[in-house]
Symmetry: D2
């Protein structure tokens, strides 16, 4: 082997131009500061007010029909205001509010992104997931795992609102978007309503079934009554230093997250409670189920009340405060923690003290 | 609950403007065709010629010093020509060639992205990984897992070239970039050369060690001699229908991939062999170790010879042909398959026949 | 190496005598038939009548005090009548009935064998397991894992009877018996009553706790109400061909058995139902919770009614019949299946037809 | 519920007699001392001299033919002299020496107990395991997993001796003995010699095969050359405090033991080295591959030299001494540790000092 290169009069600048024409990019031309000590992100912490969003959803309800003649879904996405146009709520997660009016049907489709739904308001609606009608009542968590058929039906007298959280941004960044519309429009029920709840819902007494692939929970509906009773049962225990009484919705056969890309949690902040600050690389979308309080994010207070949605990008210090002297607060949250753990990218740090606003 | 929304004269267009000002984005305004049946990607299959790239690297060697006075790394990134400016090789992977000239030292740093290196040409160089000098000879695979210190030293008389593959695009898309420069410039050796090879290299006789976190292999160097001997030992066995004699570099304690984000493989195509076509959602970077042949990608032939690099985005049909009547071909490859499996997004399809060019 | 042996006039018989004196045993002297095609065991299928056993327990209650002045435990072991004196119920499992009279306390101890208890009759008693008072009501399953402290207290007005199943024979055959008496006699409560039920009992919403070692479930009490409701919820589903509606008590974090050595199940046989026959290498102890019926074991009918206990050694064909036209039957069972699975010794076979009595 | 028992004049003694006639055994009649603080076992530590055993094996060779006209196997079992007649080497393990003379064939059979073989002396013999001829040279470890066909052939000019270790006692105590003789006498080879070594032997580069069930290693032969080279490579590293340079033979895909019931290890004691004492509940059979030394067991010295076999029951304190100033010692060992770990019964304790003889 000999060094055959003879650059003659080739300048570095000419070299750069030449190689860029050959589908090669010099690493040394990356902008200064690309190699940051810690993650730098345009995504910012943000809070959306439920009262305002609800009003907008009702306007959308009046303006835009859903179903065959209208949109497939009536959804407003929480767009992170710090990030460029088109950005979702946190880097890998897109949160949104969906509204289905009485009598409407959102036709069935399936896609490689997974979704969770947390019911905010309304009754007598259901999501049909792979043929199973899943009842939707406030506080319920409904899963529509990757590639599961799902359509929505509101058979009640009032509107139904829910929080959607999907991993669309993650799936899109990996160019893994598969999509299919159901040939029948709305998929007909093939199983008893809440069949998976009957089968797997005890968590501690289970059939020996062959489980769905991909690590998705076979349980499609986690009822609010169970969540609330659990929080109540543990309300007097010490709790987590950063999140107080904290429960993770779990895959009944593994104790792991309900999906490979998102984990769902519910937490109770007792009257007057203030948690310690920590930060982790996972990003989180919170929804306030009950109460009012404040989350202090990197020193800035974001106050919240029932129905509000908060987005926290990864690696921000945060602590929760329930200043109310006699009312508890309950937060539901969705995090991309399973993604970061699976990829070896999860980190967390904590502080012994609270940081203050 | 009553429907309080009274849109009055609010038009849909005015509504869109209003909600966009409130960090909300209507889902129904997503461009038609965003929900594609199968992934649509600007990333294209591509092949880079080693002869041309090597020449460019030598020019870079002459133009750009490495080390304290120059660049931290002399690296040309394989930029996917189908994707927008700034794009890497495949959506989550960035491949590149690195050159270290005799006497040069590339200072130690560490970052959350993980890297693998596959040595193409040169001797008497080493990468110091967390204090362990890893010998670099042609065909060796060297790991620098996430957050492991690594610096390069060329103590030989000739240049050393290697293929780098990193998960930088994936880590960046998740805003998880952590970076640190070693306080000493080049990290001093703290362990015997190739200590991890001595300790874990047998694979079938192992100490009962506490393993590194994050699923990374504790073995840092996979020598070419082992890989070549393995291919040779299995050269007369039936092999895989799509990849012929195919071996995966494995974590000695789990049989899994060497890192949570990338898996490395080596495969041998026998003289005259043509594999069957398949496709999978994983993207792959190939490097031709030996021989010449053709990979037919979605019906288009990409021919290759020793040293060439190929990038295949996910979900393209591909089959390999070694048309040489008496010479074998060997391909090294790196894939993001572990990412897709962990996230429940891995799919593959095969055909009984070959598809032809 | 040369063949130095010169047996001269040594006869085979003299050789046998000589080597037996040197702690060596010729394999070829093993009795003919030691190498059986299938397991041969003196353990037989057997059924104990609850009415008779209950009467005997009450007699024992009158004759033998429990506590400081009497026996540590008032227990009658189900001794397999086919096996030699001293043998337990099935090869690795010992089942028994325990009675605690009003006002009695069975002092706390711990041992390496694990135990499960299934309450048959009585109220207002508890077992204190590692400081947690576990309420005992009929149909509850209480765990006392290996090396967990446990003592019993009957604070009620009537006697309490329960089924004990332990892995004592297995632990003894491995010479792994560790035992310790609690220094305080009865261990004082250190946690709230049924604290683990509050913490882990939902199964589908769990705290992120550090779990106990050894694979034991952290949940100590599985209430009857949960079991019964689950059976009821699945009573109209197809069920298992050999066991009808069958549920396994599971470790809430793994979906696996509640202990590494024993798995507990509950099953419902619908009116008029007859299952198909199968056999497996696991041995099983059944307790009839409700109803009456017949289990046909290798062609012999064992009929049973509420409270009865059945022992089935491994590898016997068995099928269940609930001949009642309008009453369901419920069977609780404990099996050593996890032992056999862990050791690679689990096998099962089934038949398409029922075998008949 | 009323207390219906009226024992009248029933004495406790009469009660005992009565219930024993009803297949019930009072727990309180268990002999005092059955509940021991720590395991009490008749199995004792013992050492068999290779010179003596070898001589006996040769005598057996002269007295007893192997094959169709003679015994199926020429094997002398190491019978623990502390345990009752018929007892094996340690509670769950039976060790033995097997001899096959030139020209002999031991016909193929299979059984549910698993076996390992460690070659002591001889060449040009092989064991055919499920159709794969496994070469037997001194120091090789050959596996015959549960239910794998295996027959032995000595095609060489000299005798071949090896150490057998089986889990027969464990399998027998669970009444799980299945056995079958091969219809062809000696099974004909169906795969290339040492095919599994070619396929899985690198340990760090593996095909993506469907693995055998039951947790058995798919690799059937672990060559001595690999073991010796590994020990040599680590001879200057600190090593384990209780076992010096210690390596475990591992399942190439899991890093776990080679079989679910037995783990095999090789260790090197450097000249003049003395390890620290520890004890664990696992029992161990050692075979001295090279050197001479002493193992101090509960304060008693057992000295050993090449070829000797030692049996250590569980829970005995032990430490190893290689008093030779300039010769290393190498010990091969087989332990039931995987059984105890799987069942939650593994414990160990260590001391900071050595205990002395």
């Amino acid at each position: 082997m000999t060094l055959s290169a003879e650059p003659h009069a080739l300048t570095l600048e000419a070299f750069h131009t030449a190689v860029r024409g050959e589908a090669l990019e010099p690493l040394w031309l990356q902008p200064d500061g690309a190699m940051t000590a810690e993650p730098v992100t345009p995504f910012c912490p943000y809070r959306w007010r439920w009262r305002a969003v609800r009003e907008r959803m009702l306007q959308a309800g009046a303006l835009l029909p859903v179903g065959k003649e209208g949109a497939a879904r009536r959804v407003l996405i929480f767009r992170n205001p710090g990030a460029p146009r088109g950005a979702p709520t946190t880097p890998p997660l897109g949160a949104a509010i969906q509204l289905v009016l009485p009598g409407e049907q959102a036709p069935s489709h399936r896609h490689s992104p997974a979704a969770i739904r947390f019911i905010i308001e309304g009754r007598d609606a259901c999501t049909i997931v792979d043929g199973e009608p899943c009842t939707m009542t406030p506080g319920d968590l409904i899963l529509t795992p990757s590639w599961a058929w799902h359509g929505h039906v509101n058979a009640g007298a009032g509107p139904i609102f829910w929080l959607d959280v999907l991993d669309v941004p993650l799936v899109a960044s990996l160019y893994q978007f598969f999509y299919e519309e159901h040939p029948d429009g709305l998929e007909a029920p093939r199983r008893a309503p809440d069949a998976s709840l009957a089968r797997y819902g005890a968590g501690i007494l289970l059939p020996q079934d062959v489980l769905p692939a991909h690590g998705d929970s076979p349980l499609l509906r986690y009822p609010w009554a169970v969540a609330e009773a659990r929080l109540r049962a543990l309300a007097d225990t010490p709790g987590d230093p950063f999140d107080s009484v904290l429960l993770t919705y779990t895959h009944p056969y593994t104790g792991g997250p309900v999906m490979p890309t998102m984990t769902c949690r519910i937490q109770l902040l007792r009257p007057g409670e203030r948690t310690r600050a920590h930060r982790h690389t996972a990003s989180v979308v919170y929804h306030v189920v009950r109460g009012r309080g404040t989350t202090i994010v990197d020193g800035t207070a974001l106050d919240w009340e029932a129905g509000d949605v908060l987005a926290l990008p990864g690696w921000v210090w945060h602590e929760h405060v329930n200043a109310a002297p006699d009312a508890e607060a309950i937060l539901f949250s969705v995090s991309d923690e399973p993604v970061l753990r699976a990829l070896g990218l999860y980190r967390e740090e904590s502080r012994a003290d609270t940081r203050g606003a």
